[in-house]
């Protein structure tokens, strides 16, 4: 596709343009472009610039600390890290997923539906809706949630409250909205009380209605901007996800399914404990984020995308009625093609999942098992290695730990969701750079297009590098001799100031 734009042949003779930081994403990244004298893009890269070193510094800690330690990888999807680690340490105490007490299994699912619902709502309403409602090249002073709340108060407030509900589900199950404690090795530390359950039940119908309206909104936005929304940043790729054994959409536990760009199933029901047999990660020197790929296909073509688009593409159906109806409409829009490759369709599929979460939360709140505190923890025979995999909001998340005789962690490997989308994001950046920007004089609104493509993936760059932060936007133009000839600074009012 656009791999030829990863590394330019003669970088010394090209001018460099940088977007730094990529804004309205969670975490810390920047984009660099190298252009020739005609502004043709010769190289485009998304760099992840920070590093935290979790895999090393959790070594030496006792395994039971892991769920509360590693959730601090990310304040946006802490529950996903909490539960992936919990699933891994379940195995360390000899408990396989099917042996988890039903109450614990359902409470964890409830917790995770709350997580996916709040993260997706945050991403759509707080971070991406300014682009989608005001336009990709709209006035910079409008591109934030407060402007959305002013211009579209109903939509904005529904978004705030959808996120709030997801956070409240998390708080009821784990005690705190962010970095709570719920899962322990082999189960959960408490059930819901009737009062907690009733508190959530009071609002859940309203959430389903609003989530349904949000799906209608993104469908309208998508379909009223065709073919642009179908083509922008779009790349045909493999997709990886967990699925239920019956092929349904799954967010908590299942086997690995991989489909190729034509929709052919390459892997089905694969046991994720053997993930290392099918996925390796390549290091490239210009970014701290690694590049995972399927070993059977190889480094060149074995990369894949994960997340809402992958899950909706890969699943055969969704087991809640409104979300399934929304999925069918989404696939119909794809004109009967087996796979939808539109990168902006990530938004659409993300909101279908919000609806699925709201419906699933309602079902679980009606299940008496979540109130059953009589059997919350299972026990088994100690093991020395545990792998926990979950469908985090941004995609399949792998945690792998090994311990010694004293239950001390000796090895850790994390493949976070955003890392699996590394190649996809880079390819989408290159597609937009090559198809929409190349040859033009670059302005701030044009550069926002690159960020729109990245934002579609909802990258969590704090997860990805086990790092986070922010940096200024500054564009530098360097002539063919390597001299700085033009330096532009983007100011708070959106004005570009020429510094040189």
């Amino acid at each position: 596709m656009y791999e030829n734009l990863e590394t330019a042949e003669n970088p010394d003779n090209l001018k460099r343009v940088v977007i730094d930081p990529v804004s309205r994403v969670e975490g810390h990244g920047k984009v660099t472009l190298l252009l020739d004298e005609n502004n043709k893009v010769k190289q485009a890269r998304l760099h992840i610039v920070e590093f935290r070193g979790f895999e090393r510094f959790i070594q030496g800690r006792p395994y039971w600390e892991l769920p509360v330690l590693v959730q601090r990888l990310c304040g946006i999807c802490p529950v996903s890290h909490h539960l992936a680690a919990a699933k891994a340490i379940d195995q360390l105490v000899g408990v396989d997923p099917e042996n988890l007490p039903p109450a614990a299994d359902k409470l964890r699912r409830l917790l995770h539906f709350g997580q996916v619902m709040q993260s997706h709502s945050l991403h759509f309403f707080h971070l991406s809706s300014p682009d989608l409602l005001f336009g990709f090249e709209s006035d910079i002073s409008k591109r934030h949630i407060l402007a959305v709340l002013e211009a579209h108060p109903d939509i904005g407030l529904q978004g705030v409250k959808l996120r709030k509900f997801g956070q409240e589900v998390i708080r009821m199950v784990s005690g705190k909205r962010i970095h709570g404690t719920g899962a322990i090795a082999g189960g959960m530390n408490k059930a819901l009380t009737k009062a907690e359950r009733d508190y959530l039940k009071a609002d859940v119908e309203q959430m389903i209605t609003w989530a349904d309206a949000a799906v209608a909104l993104i469908k309208k936005v998508h379909c009223s901007n065709l073919p642009y929304y179908d083509d922008f940043g779009t790349i045909a790729t493999n997709y990886l996800s967990l699925n239920k054994p019956n092929g349904a959409l799954e967010l908590y536990h299942g086997g690995i399914r991989v489909k190729d760009p034509q929709g052919k199933t390459l892997l089905e029901g694969f046991d994720y404990c053997d993930y290392n047999k099918i996925i390796h990660e390549e290091v490239r020197p210009w970014t701290y984020m690694k590049f995972p790929y399927l070993t059977d296909i190889g480094k060149e073509d074995g990369w894949y995308r994960v997340g809402p688009l992958a899950r909706i593409n890969n699943c055969d159906f969704i087991d809640t009625p409104l979300a399934e109806k929304a999925r069918v409409e989404f696939k119909q829009h794809g004109g009967g093609q087996a796979m939808v490759h539109s990168t902006l369709a990530f938004h659409w599929t993300r909101l279908i999942e919000v609806l699925h979460c709201a419906e699933s939360i309602k079902q679980l709140l009606d299940d008496p098992d979540i109130l059953d505190s009589s059997n919350l923890v299972a026990q088994g025979e100690k093991r020395f290695s545990g792998v926990g995999v979950i469908e985090a909001p941004r995609g399949t998340l792998f945690h792998h730990y090994e311990v010694d005789d004293n239950d001390i962690v000796t090895k850790a490997n994390l493949i976070v969701s955003t890392t699996s989308n590394n190649m996809g994001m880079n390819e989408s950046v290159r597609q937009v750079a090559a198809e929409y920007l190349s040859g033009q004089e670059l302005t701030e609104p044009l550069l926002n297009n690159l960020e729109v493509a990245i934002r579609a993936y909802d990258p969590c760059l704090s997860c990805a590098t086990h790092a986070v932060g922010k940096m200024p936007l500054q564009v530098e133009l360097v002539n063919a001799e390597g001299d700085l000839i033009n330096k532009v600074m983007k100011h708070s009012d959106g004005q570009l100031e020429k510094l040189i």
């Binding site: 309205r24 920070e50 590093f51 935290r52 090393r56 390796h280 986070v468 983007k490 959106g494």
Partner: protein, 179 residues
């Protein structure tokens, strides 16, 4: 509009949880929007801090870019607030402080499970990592500290509404948590 309090926010070496907790003020964000506006923040596309009243800093200082951003905030914000465990004392990322940085990098990029093309990323585009993670008060003067991992939404709310009302912020005992 011109009289609104300008609030800038950033996340250095943190997890974004403090920003999420700030957003946990939920619909109170509408009340806040009546009296305050955002300057540079992950929530806006403003990428440089300019003449702000309050600067909220999440995260510790892990690399050279964090130092640069933190100094930019100190220069442009009247009040700097260390938000959460990482900015106050380095927090969880500071667990790497007792391990040589090289060992941490080797674990991820050389000796990790399933790592191919093993090498330590070293491109000039990547900012220099510091050998230790530092709390922000070691780099700049800090005016207030909000404890917690993360501080709760009510902590943000009480602190900001006190400050915006022109009174010395104070947290009631039940809002002070360190977890």
């Amino acid at each position: 509009m011109a009289n609104k309090i300008r609030v800038a926010t950033t996340s250095l070496g943190g997890c974004f949880g403090c920003h999420m907790s700030f957003l946990d003020i939920d619909e109170r964000i509408l009340e806040l929007a009546e009296v305050a506006e955002f300057d540079r923040s992950p929530l806006t596309d403003i990428e440089h801090c300019t003449n702000s009243d309050i600067g909220l800093i999440e995260g510790g200082v892990c690399n050279s870019e964090n130092v640069h951003v933190l100094r930019e905030f100190r220069k442009n914000c009247k009040i700097i607030v260390a938000v959460g465990a990482c900015s106050i004392n380095g927090g969880l990322p500071a667990m790497r402080n007792h391990i040589p940085l090289e060992e941490c990098l080797n674990e991820s990029y050389r000796d990790g499970i399933g790592v191919e093309n093993a090498q330590i990323p070293n491109d000039p585009e990547l900012p220099l990592l510091l050998d230790k993670v530092h709390p922000i008060h070691e780099i700049v003067k800090v005016d207030y500290y909000l404890p917690g991992c993360p501080p709760s939404a009510d902590v943000f709310w009480k602190f900001l509404t006190d400050l915006i009302a022109g009174q010395e912020p104070s947290l009631p005992y039940d809002l002070v948590h360190y977890d």
